[in-house]
């Protein structure tokens, strides 16, 4: 059997906030394979954002074991985590999180700078390719605020994927979009998952969005309440 892309064992995370400690994650164990499309669902405060931060190497668990693509994440330092994010992980956020004063193309090229691609020509070439893939050809030099919500989110996806990571982490990717655009973005993510063998993890509280995934993990109070495949959708897609 091949190594799992993501392997979480007995993960705990507690935040020591103002008054009482918040146990955001309690003893979470989880395996995600390469090429999966997973939804993490749960009410607010259930720990799904915390789980995403752990998966995305933005933070480290307090205890437990986490290996990503065979690498033990627990032993990594701050800059090594940054390196993991740079090489292996792409992020998409609810509010797009584009940098407002630079163009769409420059936003997309940003991760390449941090990944050490020193030739600007090379960066722009890859950035343009990525924007084209997202159907944004001709909008390279638009500023984020000149683009619609759906277009901005596609720029964000282009930015997340420009460095060809193995994992795309999307935190409420459609939370700021209308129903029709949401559907388009989800279809785009599905297509990327299918065609590029990209592992996609979506954090959401909308069951509509979750229904695009083949596996749904539900969290309650920092524990996994259920983890099941969605065969129904699998069948539905085969028809489409």
């Amino acid at each position: 059997m091949t190594e799992n892309l993501i392997k979480l064992r007995e993960i705990d995370k507690t935040y020591y906030g103002a008054a009482t400690p918040v146990h955001a994650l309690r003893s979470v164990s989880l395996d995600i394979d390469k090429g999966e499309m997973v939804a993490i669902m749960g009410p607010s405060g259930s720990g799904k954002s915390t789980l995403m931060n752990m998966l995305g190497c933005l933070d480290k668990p307090d205890s437990g074991r986490y290996s990503f693509a065979g690498q033990d994440v627990m032993v990594l330092g701050r800059d090594q985590l940054a390196h993991m994010r740079s090489i292996f992980i792409g992020f998409v956020f609810q509010n797009f999180n584009l940098i407002g004063r630079v163009s769409a193309l420059e936003n997309v090229c940003l991760p390449l700078i941090y990944a050490g691609v020193n030739s600007q020509r090379e960066r722009e070439k890859r950035g343009r390719q990525m924007l084209k893939l997202m159907g944004l050809e001709g909008r390279e030099h638009h500023m984020p605020k000149q683009l619609s919500g759906g277009q901005q989110q596609r720029v964000a996806i282009a930015r997340a994927l420009v460095n060809a990571p193995g994992l795309l982490l999307a935190d409420e990717p459609t939370g700021a979009l209308d129903t029709k655009t949401s559907e388009e973005i989800m279809l785009l993510l599905e297509k990327l998952n299918r065609e590029r063998e990209l592992t996609v993890i979506i954090v959401t509280h909308e069951s509509e969005i979750g229904s695009h995934c083949r596996r749904v993990i539900r969290l309650t109070d920092g524990r996994i309440a259920s983890d099941e495949p969605l065969a129904r959708i699998e069948a539905g897609r085969d028809v489409g």
Binding site: N53, G56, L58, D59, R78, D79, A82, H83, R85, S86, I87, G90, F91, F93, N97, L98, I99, R101, V102, L110, P111, I113, Y114, A115, R159, A160, N163
Partner: protein, 393 residues
């Protein structure tokens, strides 16, 4: 990247830079003024002659005491000539005179001296010649004019050499014109006429006394021993008792030069220091605005971290921003300071000196300010928690 965020806030960037601009400009003007003054004074003092001792009558400080104060004479000067370590000796005495040529008249200083004065002061004539030792011994009525005198007595005349002038009614023939020496401490050094000392003494002032004797030593090392010889010789000649004070004074231009150089260096440091304080204040302004900028862009920092920026990359971005602000401000400051120097020099007769070293120093200082005051905000940005930064509203 750093440039983009500076361009996005043009007004703020400019105001922030203003502190550095004013600081660097002020440093440049102040130090240029200090150095200009120093080198001006130094040049003037060295133009008084190198390795020079000047002997004048009267001892110590203040008014000459007693009635039987001895004065320096031609014989004293002749005796000094025989001392070892002496290169040149020139006795000098002067009176004021009314000069006329045709209808033009001019009042000026008439200085009687020895021809050796030319070599001591390293002067030259631009027209004709200086008088010779023969002119002096025969008390010839020859005169060498300063350029101011020429301008006033012979306006529009190409060369006054060969003309006859009257000094206090006595005819002299003009044999030379001295090169321009400019003004020293407000006195026009070209408003003067030189005639042989013996001519002055015999025809105008009478007597054998001289106002001062300039003695040029063979080298700067010779100055100290020569001073001793001179003192011994003059005390002997003036028959001073063992306990009596000197009735003459020996001034050393090298000593004077050192004192004045020290003073002007102090002045430079003082002016530069005051200006450096304003640069420091500018630096604090940079730090302040960088801190605001870091806070404002917390979310951007979070995004950059999420897509793979290391602490070093974030720190570098903000450090470069602060450096660019300071260096840009520094360059503008240098240009403005330079312009200021040009304006000041053209509006007044202050001398200013902008050495390339000074420009490099100002820019270096601005860079250092940028690094120093940019480091704390940049470090603060670099060590943010990516999750908190991303959530920042």
């Amino acid at each position: 990247m750093a440039m983009q965020s500076l361009m996005a806030n043009k007004m703020r960037s400019f105001l922030t830079m203003l502190g550095v601009i004013i600081g660097v400009g002020a440093v440049l003007v102040m130090v240029a003024l200090g150095q200009g003054t120093a080198s001006g004074i130094t040049a003037r003092i060295s133009s008084m002659g190198a390795n020079l001792l000047t002997i004048s009558a009267g001892g110590g400080f203040g008014p000459i005491r007693g009635t039987n104060t001895a004065q320096l004479t031609n014989a004293d000067a002749e005796a000094i000539k025989t001392l070892p370590l002496v290169k040149n000796v020139a006795a000098e005495s002067s009176t004021s005179g009314t000069i006329s040529s045709g209808n033009a008249t001019w009042s000026t200083t008439v200085d009687g001296t020895w021809p050796e004065l030319m070599s001591i002061k390293e002067w030259d004539t631009i027209q004709g010649l200086f008088f010779t030792a023969d002119d002096n011994s025969s008390a010839n009525r020859v005169a060498v004019l300063g350029s101011t005198v020429v301008e006033n007595l012979f306006p529009g005349v190409a060369s006054p050499v060969g003309e006859t002038i009257k000094i206090n009614g006595i005819s002299f023939s003009v044999i030379g014109v001295l090169e321009d020496k400019g003004s020293s401490m407000g006195a026009d050094q070209d408003d003067i006429i030189y005639i042989p000392l013996s001519t002055l003494q015999q025809r105008m002032t009478g007597g054998e006394t001289v106002r001062s004797i300039s003695v040029q030593a063979t080298s700067s090392e010779a100055l100290t021993p020569l001073k001793e010889y001179l003192t011994t010789l003059l005390r002997q000649r003036h028959r001073l008792a063992e306990t009596a004070d000197d009735d003459f004074r020996i001034r050393d231009t090298t000593e004077l030069l050192a004192t004045i150089e020290d003073t002007t260096r102090m002045l430079s440091f003082l002016l530069g220091g005051i200006a450096a304080v304003s640069l420091l204040v500018g630096g604090i302004g940079i730090m302040n605005i960088m801190l605001v900028s870091v806070t404002e862009r917390t979310r951007e920092i979070g995004i950059r971290m999420a897509i793979g920026a290391t602490t070093g990359a974030i720190r570098a971005q903000f450090l470069i921003e602060s450096l660019v602000l300071c260096l840009f401000g520094g360059i503008i400051g240098v240009l403005i300071g330079w312009a200021g120097c040009l304006i000041i020099t053209s509006l007044s007769d202050l001398t200013m000196q902008i050495a390339p070293r000074l420009i490099a120093l100002s820019l270096g200082f601005a860079t250092a300010i940028g690094l120093f005051f940019g480091y704390y905000p940049a470090n603060k940005a670099a060590h943010m928690n990516p999750i908190d930064a991303l959530r920042f509203e």
